[in-house]
Amino acid sequence: MLNFYRWLLYLYPRLYRQEYADEMASVFREAHGEICAESFRERVSFRVRETLGLLMGAMREHIRDVTGGDQSISFRRFDMRAEFRFPRSTVFLMLIIFGGVILAVEKANTIQLKYAPGAGSIWLSLPWFLGFTLLFTYGGAIVVWGILFALGRTGAHRLANIEPGSHRPE
């Protein structure tokens, strides 16, 4: 388990690893030594907790590296920057759009049943269509963002310089 733990530590950014990996492995070794005497359930729970903790921690530290890490990820309960929050009206508009899509699909379904009754309902193929569309869109967006990020053109590196509450220049 210690080898697996050390392997997972490689998911962390290099600087973080240099600073904390030995210490984390040492703490893990002590905790693991103690948990060996516990019940099977406790041992499994410990391993799951440690694995998830490392995965989440590594992800958090990478995000922290990208966003600059100064005030962007605080340990307060609600740590999203005010300028990145969705306005409430967005939720309302999204609900309207969702309602519109449902109505359009229902209308298309009615037309299909009228002219091609044996073709089956559109609703059955809709989840697959939506799933593939989302997958394709997100996949494409990630690839494009990855290329732009590698070229330093996403602006992500400049996020750390944003002053919360600052005004745009005239």
């Binding site: 703490v27 907790r49 921690g57 100064d70 307060r76």
Partner: protein
């Protein structure tokens, strides 16, 4: 920096260090003991919190020559202690308010 409110794990880590300097494993065990076994921190969560607290200068490392690198201790700074006191004060006020409201409802 506005210190409030803190998440429970971070609050427990700070409370653990308020008493005396501790190293990582000692913090893990103390947090578990203080919460009656309810909060069990993983090492990933603990060191994520310690790093952020170090960055904000709420805690600092205890520099000792003979301490091995993998067993370093941490202690609260005056800033961390002040912010912890503010958080405890906030919670005390909230508890008092809640008790008053509940008593008024029952009366």
């Amino acid at each position: 920096m506005e210190p409030l409110p803190l998440t429970e794990p971070v609050l427990l880590v700070l409370l653990s260090l308020a008493e005396q300097p501790r190293h990582g494993y000692s913090i893990l065990k103390d947090v578990e003991r203080m919460s009656g076994g309810r909060v069990k921190l993983s090492t990933g969560t603990l060191y994520g919190a310690l790093r952020r607290l170090l960055d904000e200068a709420w805690i600092e490392r205890v520099e000792e020559d003979e301490t091995p690198r993998d067993r370093r201790s941490y202690r609260l700074t005056s800033r961390g202690r002040r912010n912890l006191q503010l958080e405890v004060e906030r919670m005390r006020h909230l508890t008092k308010l809640a008790a008053l409201r509940i008593a008024r409802k029952e009366a």
